[in-house]
C-alpha cells in the first residue's frame, strides 16, 4: 500500500501508552538514547507523552567514543534544544585499555564498550527499567521479544521463559533481583519510523541523508572515514561519492549505502523499494549466526 496514506496514529498511541505505563509504575526508570533515528522517534514520543511537563525520568546515552563526529554535535544540540536531563556514560575501564574497533574484534569491542558499559551504568544508578528503541521488525530474535521484557540480575534475556503478555495490561512487577527492558517501538517498521519522522518533522543526524563523503570499500562494504583515527588497509583507496546511512552505530562498524536521497521524501522512496534490510549495514550483527540473540543473552539491548 502507498506509505503516504499510512495511518500510524495507533502506533503512536500505543507507544505513548507504554511510556506512560512506565512512568506510572516503575521505581527508577531510564530512557536509553543512541542518537539514531529510532531513538529520535522514541524521544519525540516521550516528550509528547508528558507534554507540557518534562519527561519524568533521565535520558541516558551509553557512549563508546566511536560514534560519528556529526552524531556528537547533534546530541549536544538536542540536549540544549529540548532541555533534556541527559546522562552520558562511557566504560572507563575499556577506554583506559584503549578498546577500539580497529585493534579489537567487533565482538570484543561491542561487548566491552556497549554491552558491559550498559550493564555497568544500569547498576551504577540502580535503574530497574530501561526503555529502548528496538523494533521487532529489525531482527529475528527481536521479533520474539515482549514489549515489557524481563532481565535477570546479570541483565540477561531468557527467551524460553518470557512472561505472557496479553492485551494492554502489562505486568511491571519485579522480583528484587530482576530488571526490565521496555520497547515502546516494538510494532513499528522502518517505514513507519520514516513516515512518522516525515510527518512530525523530526530533526535527524544529517548522516541519514546523501552527501558526498569520503569512504573506502572494505569487504564490499562502504566504510566512511570520519576522522584521522581511521587506518587504511593495504590497497584501500579513498573514494568521494554520495552515500548515506540507513542505520547509525559506531563509525567503522556501520556501513553506508550509495545513495542520492538527500531529503526525507527521497529516503522514503528508496526504503520503499529497497531489496536489503536496514541492519544489512550492521557488521556486528553478523559476528556469528544468531549473534543478536547471543548478545541479548549477554545483556545487549
Amino acid at each position: 500500500m502507498n506509505y503516504k496514506k499510512l495511518n500510524y496514529s495507533y502506533l503512536e498511541n500505543q507507544s505513548i501508552y507504554i511510556i506512560r505505563e512506565v512512568a506510572a509504575e516503575a521505581k527508577n526508570p531510564v530512557l536509553l538514547y543512541s542518537i539514531g533515528k529510532d531513538s529520535s522517534v522514541l524521544l519525540h514520543l516521550a516528550m509528547k507523552a508528558f507534554y507540557p511537563e518534562p519527561i519524568p525520568f533521565p535520558v541516558l546515552h551509553v557512549d563508546t567514543g566511536w560514534k560519528f563526529s556529526e552524531m556528537y554535535k547533534y546530541r549536544e544540540n538536542i540536549k540544549k534544544k529540548f532541555n533534556i536531563d541527559l546522562l552520558v556514560y562511557k566504560n572507563a575501564e575499556g577506554e583506559k585499555n584503549n578498546v577500539n574497533p580497529f585493534n579489537h574484534s567487533s565482538e570484543t569491542y561491542t561487548d566491552i564498550m556497549k554491552t558491559q558499559a550498559l550493564k555497568k551504568v544500569l547498576d551504577k544508578y540502580n535503574f530497574d527499567l530501561a526503555i529502548g528503541g528496538a523494533r521487532r521488525d529489525e531482527e529475528k530474535s527481536r521479533a520474539k521479544e515482549r514489549i515489557f521484557s524481563i532481565r535477570n540480575n546479570k541483565h540477561s534475556w531468557d527467551p524460553k521463559h518470557q512472561r505472557p503478555e496479553c492485551w494492554n495490561t502489562y505486568n511491571l512487577q519485579l522480583k528484587s533481583d530482576q530488571k526490565m527492558r521496555v520497547f515502546p517501538l516494538s510494532n513499528w517498521t522502518e517505514l513507519d519510523i520514516w513516515t512518522y519522522i516525515h510527518k512530525e518533522k523530526i530533526d535527524l543526524v544529517k548522516l541519514y541523508f546523501a552527501k558526498k563523503r569520503p569512504f573506502v570499500f572494505r569487504e564490499k562494504k562502504i566504510i566512511m572515514i570520519d576522522d584521522n583515527r581511521f587506518k587504511l588497509n593495504k590497497g584501500e583507496k579513498i573514494i568521494h561519492d554520495f552515500i548515506r546511512f540507513r542505520t547509525l552505530g559506531c563509525y567503522p562498524l556501520t556501513a553506508g549505502i550509495l545513495s542520492k536521497a538527500n531529503t526525507i521524501k527521497k529516503v522514503l522512496d528508496e526504503i520503499f523499494n529497497s531489496k536489503q534490510s536496514e541492519r544489512e549495514g550492521r557488521l556486528i550483527d553478523k559476528d556469528e549466526a544468531s549473534s543478536m540473540e547471543l548478545k541479548k543473552l549477554q545483556g545487549y539491548f
Partner: protein, 612 residues
C-alpha cells in the same frame, strides 16, 4: 491499541504442531517479496545448517531463536510485519505445542483474525479445537480455517469437505462471526498468495486476498470509558488526567461520573500533545482537565453511562492458567485490571468442555494451560466491565505475589447472582478501646518451622512470661486445632492452605478481641504465610522462624514421627515427603541448634515486650 484502523490487520496463525504455521507465513512473506536479500541469504545458510537441505526452509524466517531452529519447533510467538497494496499486516506466528499455549495466547490477545491451520493428512486434532476455543474466548470473531498439505492427499476434495464439515460442527457454539475455509499447500505456496490450478475445485480467493479484504471490527461497545493511567500535577498545582479511551467517545463540556467514588464532574479541556481536542474516541491517548478539582488517582475510571460498569468485589470469569505452579483455591494473588492492582483469590473453579458447557464442579486446583470458569474474590470493591463490552476493563491478569510472574489471565463474564457485599459489621467497642483497657497491644506472633523444631515448647514458655506481666494471651496450636475446628482437614497441599486460612482468621478475631495470640503452626508455604500476614495491620503480625536442621530433628525425634515418615507410615510429612519453604524475611529467627530453650525464650521476650 483497540483503535479501528482499517489500514492494519493484526492476525495470528495457530493450530497443532507441525501443521505448517511457520512455513505458511514464511512462504507468504517470500511470495509477497517481503523478505530482504540479506535475510534470504541468512535463511539459505540456516536451512543448510539446521535442515541439511539446499531447499529454503521458510519456517526459519519465523523461528528466529537458535533453540527453535535446532529443535525445528516454534517455542514463542514471533511477530512479522508486511504490507501489500491493500493494507499492512502484523502477524503473530504462534507455537502449536500444548506446553506453549500461554505463548499462543499472548499472540492471540491482540489479534483481530486467526488463521487456524489443519493438516489435510492428520485432520482436526485436539490442539486445533483448543486453539479455536481459545480464540473464541478471547473474542476473535473472524476465522480462516486453512486446510494445509493438500498436495500430500492428492488435492482430494472429499478430504477437504470432511474436515470442513467436522470443524463447523465442533465450533457451532463458538462465538465466531465468520469462518472462511481454504485448501492450501504452504510448502509449495498453492492458494497462499496466488490461486493455484492444482486445486481447481476451489473457487474462493487466495489466503492473502481473504486477509486483504477481512473486515476489522473489534470495537468495544459505545459506552465511553477512560481509565486514568497517570495523574500529572503542574507547578501551579493544577491537575491533568492522562489515559487511553477504551470505549465510546467524549466531547469537551460532557458530564462524566468517576468510578469508584461515583462523583460527578465535567470535561473542561482535552489535549493531545500541543493540540486542544474537541472530541476523542476509542483508541486515543489523551490528557484531560476537569471543571472541578477533586482527588482522583490512577485506576479511577471516567464514564458517561454508569450502567456499563459494576463496582463489586466479586465476579465470574473464564480463567486460563499459565504458570508451572498450579492455581489453588483460596491462595492470594495480585490481580491487575486496567490500571488497578489489588489482592485477589479464586473462590471456585469449574471446568468447561470445548463446547463451552460446564463439565465438572468445584475443582480445587488448576494446572498450567488449563481453562476454567472461576469465581474471583477481590480484596476491595473495584470497577470492572464485562469482556464482551470492554476488552480492557473486562479482562485481567493474575500475578504471583512472590516471583512476580504473570500466572494467569481472565475474561470477566458475569457480575450477577453473587453472594457478594457482605459488609463486615463494625461494632462500637473497637480493638483500640480494648487495647487501652488491657494496657497492651494485641498482635499475633506466628511461629513457623519444621515439626519438632520447638515451636510449641518455646511459645508456652513465652506465654507464661508474658502472662505473668498481666497480658491477655492465648496459644493457637496447629496440632490441637486439628482435633477440633480443623478436624476435617488432611495434610495435602490444599488442606494445609485451608488450615492456615482458618487459623489466620481465628487469630484475627482474637486480635480484635484484644488478645496477644501465639500461633504454632508448621505453615510450610511462604505464600500462605504472606497471605496470613496480609490479613493484619502492618506490625500486628510477627513472623518467628524456629530453625533446626532436618538432620538434628531426625536425631531428636521426640514423638517418633520422623522415623514413621521415613518408613512411609505417615504421608505428606513436612521435610520428608512434603516441602518446607524457609521464610524469606521473618521478623525473628530462633536457631534452636545455637540457643537452648531458655535463651530462646529470653531473646523473644526482650524483643517482643517493648513493642506490645
Amino acid at each position: 491499541m483497540s483503535s479501528n484502523n482499517q489500514n492494519t490487520l493484526r492476525f495470528i496463525t495457530c493450530g497443532s504442531v507441525d501443521d505448517g504455521k511457520s512455513t505458511l507465513m514464511g512462504r507468504m512473506l517470500f511470495e509477497n517479496n517481503s523478505i530482504y536479500k540479506d535475510q534470504l541469504e541468512e535463511l539459505k545458510s540456516a536451512s543448510l545448517k539446521y535442515s541439511k537441505s539446499k531447499e529454503i526452509d521458510y519456517s526459519m524466517l519465523l523461528d528466529g531463536l537458535s533453540s527453535e531452529r535446532e529443535q525445528k519447533i516454534t517455542i514463542d510467538v514471533a511477530y512479522r510485519y508486511f504490507q501489500t497494496k491493500k493494507r499492512k499486516f502484523i502477524v503473530a506466528d504462534t507455537p502449536g505445542h500444548q506446553q506453549y499455549t500461554k505463548n499462543m495466547i499472548t499472540g492471540a490477545s491482540n489479534s483481530q483474525l486467526a488463521i487456524i491451520l489443519v493438516s489435510a493428512k492428520k485432520g482436526i486434532l485436539e490442539q486445533t479445537i483448543r486453539h479455536s476455543y481459545i480464540c473464541s474466548l478471547l473474542g476473535i470473531k473472524n476465522i480462516i480455517l486453512a486446510i494445509n498439505k493438500m498436495d500430500i492427499v492428492n488435492f482430494d476434495k472429499n478430504i477437504f469437505d470432511k474436515i470442513s464439515k467436522k470443524y463447523m460442527k465442533i465450533t457451532k457454539n463458538y462465538d465466531f462471526n465468520k469462518i472462511s475455509i481454504i485448501p492450501i499447500s504452504a510448502l509449495h505456496g498453492y492458494n497462499v498468495v496466488k490461486k493455484s490450478k492444482k486445486i481447481n475445485w476451489y473457487y474462493g480467493p487466495s489466503l492473502l486476498s481473504i486477509l486483504e479484504k477481512a473486515s476489522i471490527n473489534i470495537k468495544n461497545d459505545n459506552n465511553f470509558a477512560l481509565p486514568i493511567q497517570l495523574v500529572q500535577t503542574n507547578k501551579q498545582n493544577k491537575r491533568r488526567y492522562l489515559g487511553l479511551v477504551t470505549g465510546g467517545s467524549i466531547k469537551v463540556k460532557d458530564d462524566i461520573t468517576i468510578f469508584p467514588s461515583l462523583t460527578k464532574n465535567s470535561i473542561k479541556n482535552m489535549f493531545f500533545h500541543k493540540k486542544k481536542l474537541i472530541q476523542a474516541e476509542e483508541g486515543d491517548v489523551i490528557s484531560i482537565e476537569l471543571n472541578k478539582e477533586v482527588d482522583i488517582s490512577r485506576g479511577d475510571i471516567f464514564v458517561k453511562n454508569t450502567n456499563s460498569f459494576i463496582l463489586s468485589d466479586r465476579f465470574k470469569a473464564d480463567l486460563i492458567w499459565m504458570d508451572i505452579n498450579p492455581a489453588f483455591i483460596g491462595r492470594l494473588y495480585y490481580i491487575k485490571i486496567g490500571h488497578i492492582m489489588v489482592g485477589a483469590q479464586i473462590l471456585k473453579i469449574n471446568f468447561k468442555d470445548n463446547n463451552n458447557q460446564l463439565k465438572k464442579d468445584n475443582i480445587i486446583k488448576l494446572e498450567m494451560n488449563e481453562l476454567a470458569y472461576a469465581e474471583i474474590q477481590l480484596e476491595k470493591q473495584t470497577s470492572t466491565s464485562l469482556f464482551k463490552k470492554n476488552k480492557m476493563l473486562g479482562s485481567f491478569i493474575l500475578i504471583d505475589r512472590i516471583n512476580k510472574n504473570t500466572i494467569g489471565i481472565g475474561m470477566i463474564r458475569d457480575h450477577s447472582n453473587l453472594a457478594s457485599n457482605i459488609f463486615y459489621s463494625q461494632s462500637f467497642v473497637t480493638k483500640k478501646h480494648r487495647n487501652i483497657a488491657n494496657g497492651h497491644k494485641s498482635k499475633v506472633i506466628w511461629f513457623t518451622g519444621l515439626s519438632g523444631a520447638g515451636k510449641s515448647t518455646i511459645a508456652r514458655k513465652l506465654e507464661k512470661r508474658l502472662f505473668k506481666t498481666g497480658m491477655k494471651t492465648y496459644i493457637l496450636d496447629g496440632d490441637n486445632l486439628r482435633t477440633g475446628i480443623n478436624k476435617n482437614l488432611s495434610f495435602t497441599e490444599n488442606d494445609r492452605i485451608e488450615n492456615i486460612r482458618r487459623v489466620s482468621e481465628i487469630s484475627k478475631l482474637m486480635i480484635d478481641a484484644g488478645i496477644l495470640v501465639l500461633v504454632c503452626l508448621i505453615s510450610p508455604y511462604e505464600n500462605e504465610r504472606k497471605t496470613a500476614k496480609k490479613l493484619f495491620k502492618k506490625g500486628d503480625f510477627i513472623e518467628v522462624y524456629v530453625k533446626a536442621s532436618l538432620k538434628t530433628l531426625e536425631k531428636r525425634d521426640v514423638k517418633g514421627l520422623y522415623k514413621k515418615a521415613r518408613l512411609g507410615e505417615i504421608k505428606d510429612f513436612t521435610g520428608i515427603s512434603s516441602p518446607y519453604e524457609v521464610p524469606v524475611n521473618p521478623n525473628m529467627i530462633i536457631d534452636t541448634e545455637k540457643n537452648n530453650i531458655e535463651e530462646s525464650v529470653n531473646m523473644l521476650f526482650n524483643k517482643i515486650k517493648p513493642i506490645i
